[in-house]
Amino acid sequence: MNNEELFALFREVVQSIEKRPLEDVTPDSVIADLGIDSLGMMEIVGELESRLDVMIPDDQLVKLRTVADLLGVVQKRLEAR
């Protein structure tokens, strides 16, 4: 899965969880600025883990600040499989 596909999946997951369209979101967006709190992010990460069959350790999850941070960690996990 390339970065664009991963970003599209991220948007899809966020919209299904948050039930609102995500406008103006880019990889550089700060997750908190999208109105997603820490428990919301945990849900999003969990959904990505489930769909892509990867596992992100808790200590990495708590450090994620931007969308790019999150996608980078997921991409690394995908490549490590």
Partner: protein, 289 residues
């Protein structure tokens, strides 16, 4: 252990399960209370070093103490509404009563600190109470005892972390009186967290799927108490977060994940329960449903 009794049928089995749950929850309370009596009792007037109080309290430190007082101002509502949701389980009812007693000492000691240090006047505190109480009442965020127990575990752990950070700041600034107050309060808060966690472990054993569903619900809708009632809440919390260095990472790392770990639930289980709830909601809202 079998709970089946010949001739009693499903109703009898439900009664037995409920009796067993009541007994287990009462045991949790007795353990909590015995330990509190042995190790944790303190007197806000006698055990705090009031003779060491300083008059040069920085405003941000005072604001934090005042905000804790403001949140605790709704204690009568927390107790009365809390009692209503945990009926009919005696262990939880008695815990709620004891919890109210302990929390009242927190508000009282912080208020004494603000007044004795000169950081606030009697008039200012009365004005704040007026703004907190007139026309306002706290109502629970969740409807059932199980949901409120899960909420209690997360909320008390968050409060514990906040108080620990405030304690360190008071210590760094040389405000020994306030450090001791926060030390007593933090000790109480973590004891409350551990009681709630013990109850959650019992509830998980009795009904894991239902308890996980409630965990997911509480996680999705979690908010700190009185967020919508305390005047200038957002600005106050911003100051508190900055001072305590509390950000999003800290909430997951120091509050949420430790609670999950201690009750024996994985993040994957919570996410799975969240997904089930979403699917159920979508099913309910679709025209075919």
């Amino acid at each position: 252990m079998s709970t089946r009794v010949e001739g009693r049928g499903a109703e009898g089995e439900r009664d037995l399960a409920d009796t067993r749950l009541s007994l287990r929850l009462y045991e949790e309370y007795k353990t909590f209370f015995a330990r509190a009596e042995r190790e944790r009792r303190w007197n806000p007037f006698d055990d705090v070093p009031w003779d060491q109080i300083r008059k040069d309290v920085p405003e941000d430190l005072a604001l934090c103490a005042e905000t804790f007082c403001a949140v605790e101002a709704y204690l009568p509502d927390y107790v009365s509404e809390g009692l209503a949701v945990v009926r009919p389980y005696m262990g939880q009812l008695w815990f709620q009563a004891n919890w109210g007693y302990e929390e009242s000492k927190h508000a009282l000691s912080l208020q004494e600190f603000l007044l004795r240090s000169g950081a606030r006047t009697d008039e200012q505190m009365i004005d704040l109470q007026h703004r907190l109480w007139v026309g306002k009442k706290w109502t629970p965020l969740f409807r059932t005892g199980r949901q409120m127990t899960i909420y209690g575990a997360i909320q008390e752990q968050a409060t514990f972390v906040f108080y620990c950070r405030q304690r360190e700041r008071a210590k760094a600034l040389g405000h020994e009186t306030l450090r001791v107050i926060y030390d007593f309060i933090a000790r109480d808060e973590i004891a409350h967290t551990h009681f709630y966690e013990g109850v959650i472990r019992v509830l998980l054993e009795e009904d894991r799927e239902g308890t996980l569903a409630d965990f997911a619900l509480v996680s999705r809708d979690f908010k700190m108490p009185a967020f919508d009632l305390v005047p200038d809440y957002d600005q106050r919390v911003m100051v508190m977060r900055d001072l305590a260095n509390m950000d999003r990472d800290v909430f997951l790392q120091k509050v949420y994940f430790p609670v999950l770990k201690r009750v024996g639930v994985t993040r994957a289980e919570i996410v799975s329960a969240m997904r089930k709830a979403r699917d159920a909601e979508q099913g309910e809202s679709s025209p075919a449903a």
